[in-house]
Amino acid sequence: MSMDRRQFLKIAGISSILGLGATAASATHNIWVKGLSPDEVAKNPEALNAQHWAMVVDMSQFKTDEDFQKTISACHSIHNVPDFKNPDGSVDLKDEIKWIWKAKYENAFPDQDNPYMEEKLKEMPFLVLCNHCENPACVRVCPTQATFKRKNDGIVMMDMHRCIGCRFCMAACPYGARSFNYRDPRPFIKTENKEYPTRTKGVVEKCTFCTERLAVGKLPACVEAAPKGGMFFGDLADKNSEVRKIIETRYTIRRKPELGTGPSVYYLIGGTEHA
């Protein structure tokens, strides 16, 4: 059935009024408009696949502030993350959106510091991001499945077209990994990457482990931009993967493991050699 744009909009409009389609955009669920089912879409042969994507961050490889900034901005620039600043140039903590950022040891791992701890370690910066938990609390609480865990590779994803902006996921995430668009983010995007969608106000967003890059055979942007040996990304279910080998042979820590969320981001603190 072929139709022009005008017809499509008409039918989509009427069917949304009837409640047949949640939004006109979700055409595959609209009985009036036949779209492709997932099986009909060919997979990119280059795509990177895994059963359980996981990340190891070796903090000792991040030596300068520039190492951090390069990694963070690699992510934020390609994902159109807006930059909210106060008039004095400091970060606007109220509207701030961040997918990956720098946090001190005592903030990334609260209650694990001690009064005699080396000041350097206490103040040591860590890269923090969504942990893509095995038992994500955010997914458990979402009333619309707008945030969900991909069955095939364990990535915790966001559907920003379905999110109603209730922010229950933000209350539930024990890592503060989620940001809410308190206002239209578009005017605050430095240079828009046309390859990646921008967001509207009123929805929650977070790191996606770069699903869009994995789908075309690229590693996550942060991993690519990190200093050599700073970040590893791979399949934790694969015994021969680099991440698995590191975790099996070195002492790694995870954020708040006692909560049972099963974070998939592991940290190496010291030492330079790796498996």
Binding site: A22, L93, T144, P174, Y175, V203
Partner: protein
Amino acid sequence: MLEKGLVGSKKYWAWLAFLGALAVSGVYYYLQQFNYGLGLTGLSRDVSWGLYIGQFTFLVGVAASAVMLVIPYYLHDYKKFSKIVILGEFLAISAVTMCILFIFVDMGQPMRIMNVVLHPTLNSVMFWDSMVLSGYLFINLLVGWVTLSSDRKGVPPPKWIKFFIYLSVPWAVSIHTVTAFLYAGLPGRHFWLSAVMAARFLASAFAGGPSLLILLALLVRKLTKFDPGKEQIQTLGTIVAYAMFANVFLLGLEFFTAFYSNIPGHMESFKYLYVGLDGHRELVPLMWTSSIFAAASLLMLVIPRIRKNETLLAFACIMLFISLWIDKGFGLIIGGFVPNMLNQVRTYWPTRQESIITLGVWAIGFLILSFLYKIAITVREESEGVEIEH
């Protein structure tokens, strides 16, 4: 029957006009928020729920408290409540409506609200909360309407309505339990992660709701020919006293667990609220006001001589209501977010726009309440002296 709400004195209409004006200013600022986004509020990445969700939580309690009239009357055959059960049911209707409105104004994408129904998610407490709240609204509309219509005609209500009346008892408990579960099951929010949360919610609801009912009953007596009754008000006073005692006791349990265990994560929110944390003392005066009002009102309520004096009773009820409003409508929500998940203290204070929107929702609730009470009271005034067996 609806027409009875449209006939009234100049005073009645002036009151409705006043509420209407407040509601309109609320709508005006809501439209601004709708255009700009929730950035118009004081909310942030760190404190992502605030005044709106606090009001919602508090009002679920007010709604649930109707059961404190239904149980004595229908389950214990306490006949004296026959004329005022309707006041509880109509209060519940207006409270649930406010709850729904507060959820709505808190949403980032309100136009997508139907997604909750289109993609029902059984593992989300919020899904269940929306189900039980709409169910409770329906039950109270049905029961209130059917029983009042029968009263008006001077006949006993139909037998089938009993089913819904009995259903409303566990249902009322469910709305507040499920609301507590929104908070009490989140890993990492130590302040909320408490097994007594639902019990505490119910206790504060059964104190706060009936205390508002006492005030409303006193007002009704003053302003209309319908007298809810001296003894009825005293019975409500006793209910408020017991429930408030349970509430203060349960809050004490929270303090014990946090401070005797000495676990930092469990103590920090309490410290922020009551003494300040990292130099931030924004909520300290409010929380102490709440504590002092709670203690004073409880003391006044447990001394029979004071409770029996209606002026002092009203005074105690006002203090109690304010105390619970601060505790549950504000402190409980903000306390859960401070310190944040990275153990930093980031504070929150509602903006002017946010406060006016909040006031607007309350005004809409009181508009509905005034309208419904007008109907109920007119029916009561007309059927004065007629005893109907329910």
